[in-house]
Symmetry: C2
Subunit: 221 residues, 2 copies
């Protein structure tokens, strides 16, 4: 993860904790439920929440009966996560995974990236190296903004860097970091490059029946 | 193909020929170019244009050097196609393919369905049986409306039957047939069911950089 992203999260961690713990992002009503429903349908014992933030999803995983580890690059978020449960939470970066380091408590039956993939380059390596740390028949889940986001925000429908990751969120955020938005074509292109795997994609809708996110399920085969 | 669809095309064939031969559908400027560009990148000698209508694409395939066969369920369109070139054109239905009949002039190196897949049921069998009639490393191309169509037309973002296939087209059409519009999720679900193949998808844009169609490329492996 770039220094820009880590620096932005360091500056905004306290505000983010408030926003998440107050359930302030309206779309999360749909997307939190969607990722939890998807996790409920998985088989396995051990799961890792990569980019766990303050750890709400890692805690929910434990409620569902999983032995769940949470990882995040931002130390103050991991500190907050540790206050709220006795689960293993570790500062660990995407770069650590890309460099081939062993994830704490590996191997896992499932890994989840929930709204934390901001990167353009290195995605294939990040996902491949995560798949490599899963057990046989392991599953990798990604939740990310639906490409329709581009149209809805009057942007050209092409993959592109967007400048402010906090834009539109209900909090007093500063120093937004850039993030790379992908079209569906480019998501499929990335997923087609992963070896020994197949995938399917769910399109998550809000109560106006507009698509808001994708849940990508990659199966190790 | 259902009787409703064949009957609608029988009634509107003359009007369709006029619309196509006058280049009256604005989006075709982009989508015709897109399917031709995709075909140019294929290797092979023999190609089949399934649902060829009055045969414009089959003729263009010949211009690109292919030995091209055109098939359509509507006899009057095949009659028009035969007037305009000496290529093989045959009345042949999706049901013929689904029932496992040999396509005239099979095997092919490539097969194309350009804006003609209206069906809900039987899609897997139609595509599988077409793939079975391709040579080793053969390619099946589909061009279809982009699922964004649903949002653009204020419809719920879910796969659904739409009642009038001619709606919005610049011609005096009557007795529109129904057609089944799919979300991206449901397209991927269908494609994932095809055996011994992989696929990728291009999203074709208009000059406002809005997505208008998908070109699905299925590779036999």
């Amino acid at each position: 993860m770039s220094k820009e992203i880590i620096s932005s999260w360091d500056k905004n961690a306290a505000e983010w904790i408030k926003v998440i713990q107050n359930d302030s992002i309206p779309s999360r009503k749909f997307t939190n439920l969607a990722i939890l429903e998807t996790i409920k349908q998985l088989d396995g014992d051990k799961i890792v929440d990569i980019g766990c933030g303050e750890g709400w999803l890692t805690r929910e995983m434990a409620n569902l009966g999983w032995e769940a580890t949470g990882l995040d690059a931002t130390a103050s978020l991991i500190e907050e996560a540790r206050k709220n449960s006795n689960q293993p939470f570790e500062v660990f970066t995407f770069e650590d995974i890309i460099e081939g380091k062993n994830i704490p408590n590996t191997p896992f039956d499932a890994a989840v990236f929930n709204f934390c993939l901001y990167l353009k380059d290195g995605l294939k390596e990040l996902l491949s190296n995560t798949l490599n740390q899963l057990s046989k028949d392991g599953v990798l889940l990604i939740q990310t903004l639906h490409p329709y986001f581009l149209i809805q925000n009057d942007l050209k429908f092409k993959s592109q860097w967007l400048s402010d990751s906090w834009k539109g969120l209900p909090g007093n955020f500063t120093d937004g970091h850039s993030w790379y938005a992908r079209t569906m074509e480019d998501w499929l292109h990335e997923l087609n490059q992963l070896e020994n795997s197949n995938f399917n994609i769910r399109e998550i809708l809000n109560d106006e029946e507009k698509p808001i996110s994708l849940i990508i399920k990659i199966n190790k085969i």
